[in-house]
């Protein structure tokens, strides 16, 4: 059995920029905002001396590792850029944790960032540099399970709309979220269709943003300003492309299922719905969140509809999901998203999440899935 990172690494500082269409902010501005908040949170006042390494994650970086080095003036340090689809930020965190567990470093900075709004398009670019796979839009990819799932389990656009309504409501309670707008299921169902079954409100808000974490090795984690938040499990899994996989069932995403198995084993979780207190899951589209409830084992196959109707995943429900509004309304700067989720779970576990605080949370999960989709990252954090 492979070794686990459980309790060998802790988050001792967390920061996050404002997410949104930050026309007047550069990537440098976003990185500085997030990193300096994390420094202050940890009580780390000499980053050039105290940091041993940096792992950053970005899907659309313009200058690679130099973007972080120059923004933070972190030189003569090992800086690595990680990319892994929408799990980019989560994988940067994982690489940082592994480097600490390997005994190489004591204190490591993780920075996830992206600045997609400098590309001049409202959504993804229309790609014509390929022949197969067009139209190459994430909405089309993530809609692949819709028809089959709806036919098999009877859910439909109304259930998806309820997820969007929930996440918009949560987003109004998060000061740094992009969208602070309460919506109704009618708003969702009447919006223009982007890619059936997804209307405008079924799609996440693509935004600019950055998030940062300070990680420490376990035996030095109590020397910082705040109580450490412990790493209980982390997993990255790649699955086959569902567009060509001969064995794909169109009822859920394989990489989430395999990453969940791995991560639950590390964290000692046998009943995820009872044991996990809050979860930030990848809601790039509303259906992604619905399928993730089942892929993570929060409910049985086909039971997401009942749970949605019973508001199980609301802020006041038994297992609140996307407490800060999720990708849907907090925003989705791809490389930052996984790190933003860890920032939110850190605040929640410390009891610092303000109006959206879930009382008494001790175990928190975060989840990303990206690509066609093929890549999943899951992290479980806990407090003493």
């Amino acid at each position: 059995m492979p070794e686990s990172l459980r309790d060998r690494v802790a988050i001792v500082g967390a920061g996050c920029s404002v997410f949104g269409e930050n026309w007047t902010m550069s990537a440098e501005d976003l990185i500085v905002e997030a990193a300096f908040e994390a420094y202050a949170d940890a009580g780390l006042d000499q980053p050039q001396r105290q940091l041993d390494a940096v792992f950053c994650g970005a899907l659309y970086p313009s200058r690679g590792t130099a973007e972080v080095a120059e923004s933070l003036k972190l030189f003569d340090l090992p800086i690595t850029l990680v990319q892994n689809f929408c799990a980019t930020g989560t994988d940067a965190f994982r690489c940082a944790a592994m480097s600490i567990a390997a005994g190489l470093y004591d204190t490591v900075l993780v920075v996830g960032f992206d600045k997609p709004k400098d590309r001049g398009v409202a959504g993804p670019s229309v790609m014509l540099n390929t022949t197969r796979g067009l139209p190459m839009t994430p909405a089309g990819w993530f809609a692949l399970c819709a028809a089959k799932y709806f036919e098999t389990y009877g859910a439909g656009r109304l259930e998806l709309a309820k997820i969007a309504v929930k996440n918009h409501a949560n987003g109004t309670l998060a000061p740094k979220s992009m969208l602070k707008k309460l919506i109704t299921t009618d708003d969702v169902l009447q919006a223009r269709i982007i890619s059936w079954p997804f209307g405008l409100y079924d799609c996440a808000a693509q935004s600019d943003g950055a998030a940062a974490l300070i990680l420490s090795r376990a035996d030095r984690a109590r020397g910082w300003r705040k109580e450490p938040v412990w790493l209980k499990g982390v997993s990255i899994m790649l699955g086959p492309n569902p567009q060509s996989d001969p064995d794909f069932d169109f009822l859920g995403w394989k990489p989430t299922r395999s990453a969940a198995r791995d991560c639950y084993r590390q964290a000692g979780i046998t009943d995820p719905f009872r044991q996990i207190d809050i979860a930030q899951v990848h809601d790039c589209f509303t259906l992604t969140e619905l399928l993730t409830y089942e892929d993570l084992g929060f409910c049985a196959r086909g039971a997401a509809r009942e749970c949605i109707d019973a508001q199980v995943f609301h802020l006041t429900g038994e297992l609140p999901v996307n407490t800060d509004g999720g990708l849907k309304s907090f925003g989705h700067p791809t490389g930052a998203t996984g790190v933003r989720m860890l920032y939110e779970n850190t605040l929640q576990l410390r009891g610092e999440a303000g109006a959206r605080q879930v009382p008494g949370a001790t175990l928190a999960l975060s989840h990303n899935i990206g690509g066609a989709p093929q890549a999943c990252g899951i992290v479980i954090l806990g407090r003493d």
Partner: protein
Amino acid sequence: MRLPLSLIHAPEQPPSNREKAVAGADEDVVTMAVAAATDCLAGRDPAGIDQLYLASASSFFAEKSTAAVVARALGLRGDVVTVDHGGSLRAGAAALRAAVNAVTAGAARAVLVVASDARTAEPYSAMEADLGDAAVAFVVESDGPLRLESDCAVSRQAFDVWREDGAAALRGWEDRFVVRHGFLEPMVAAWEQWRGASGLTAAAFRHVALHAPDSRSHRELAQQLGFRAEQLVDPLFGRIGNCGNAFAPLLLAQAAGRAQPGERILSGFAGDGAWLLSWVLDRPLARTATLDAQLQRRLVLRSYRQYLQCRGLDSGAADRRSADGISATVSFRDQAADIGFSGVRCQSCGTEQFPPSRVCYRCFARDRLESVSFARRHGTLLSYSKDYFFPSPLPPVVVGVCALGGSARAYLQLADYAGEELRTGLPVEFVCRRIHASGGRPAWYWKSRLLALPEAHDA
């Protein structure tokens, strides 16, 4: 697709049920040729084709073989002889004549002749309503049921209808000049010359398949040559239109399909002169053209602007030719999968997969994969979405994963979608289409198409 002629000048003109056949945004000379040839070769091993002649006056390329692209899409042998006949609307006659010559001389056992033209007039021009797009394919063999008996050609030179290199649309001189000196005079001259040499008379032909610029001149030519109405094959103006090199072959195919053994058929090509060919049906054709079914299955354009967008004539549309386009080296390497729609089958475990790869999806064997073509398969729609984000003259773009008649799957657009109610499990066929021409280089790939119309939706 069909463009109702009333849309061209609406609302100035009274409504009518007349229409013309037009290539959709994802169709062109190549895709129409592939569709016609696939239909023609149904039930036949494409490896038996020795030569491919493609006749077209509307090829995308000034220098590059369209026939070679069609050969790749059809999965013909690597040593197939491909020839492009072009430059004139008589190229179809030249291709048929050359095919008969090759077979007669023993240079080939089977020659596939495909005539394909997409005829684009200046928007709102007088000739626009009479032009159409189509492709027709024949297999020419030494012991074929339809025998070329004799032929006669004359050559003429005039600026009647022409398209200069690089221009999108045809240009024409005044229509009466076009009809008289570009059409009637050479056709009559060829007929007179041939009649003198062969002794054939109008009465010798049971079926007469004549090219013409429009229905009026078609009647006028028939009258001048002495043919009665019942001898004439319907030229289908108001349904298809003058489809260039495919026109006389289309009518010839109709005649051959309904002729009785022993009957004689005249086909007449016009363009920079005229070419008349006399055919005798020795025995019924094993396979006849499926025109009726194709005329029934039609997607009607809802506006003239949609037609202009399909044609790339809409001035408001983004010019995608200026984009980078696909890499020539990538498209060169991927042509078997992209244009030929070939995947692989694992020789260890039998799993079929697409696109081709080196290591098996199921048994992980390396390089035990043999090529398999999915082009002629029927498949199943496993999932779909309707995309309103991707630019298309006829949104939405339906796209989804299809099972390719086995374990292989592919993410394909659904062609010719007309708003049918969709569900998973619907049977589909696969059609070659042009996905885009970014960078000025057309990218051909395959789409799925509903095989049978879904049952009507209960109200």
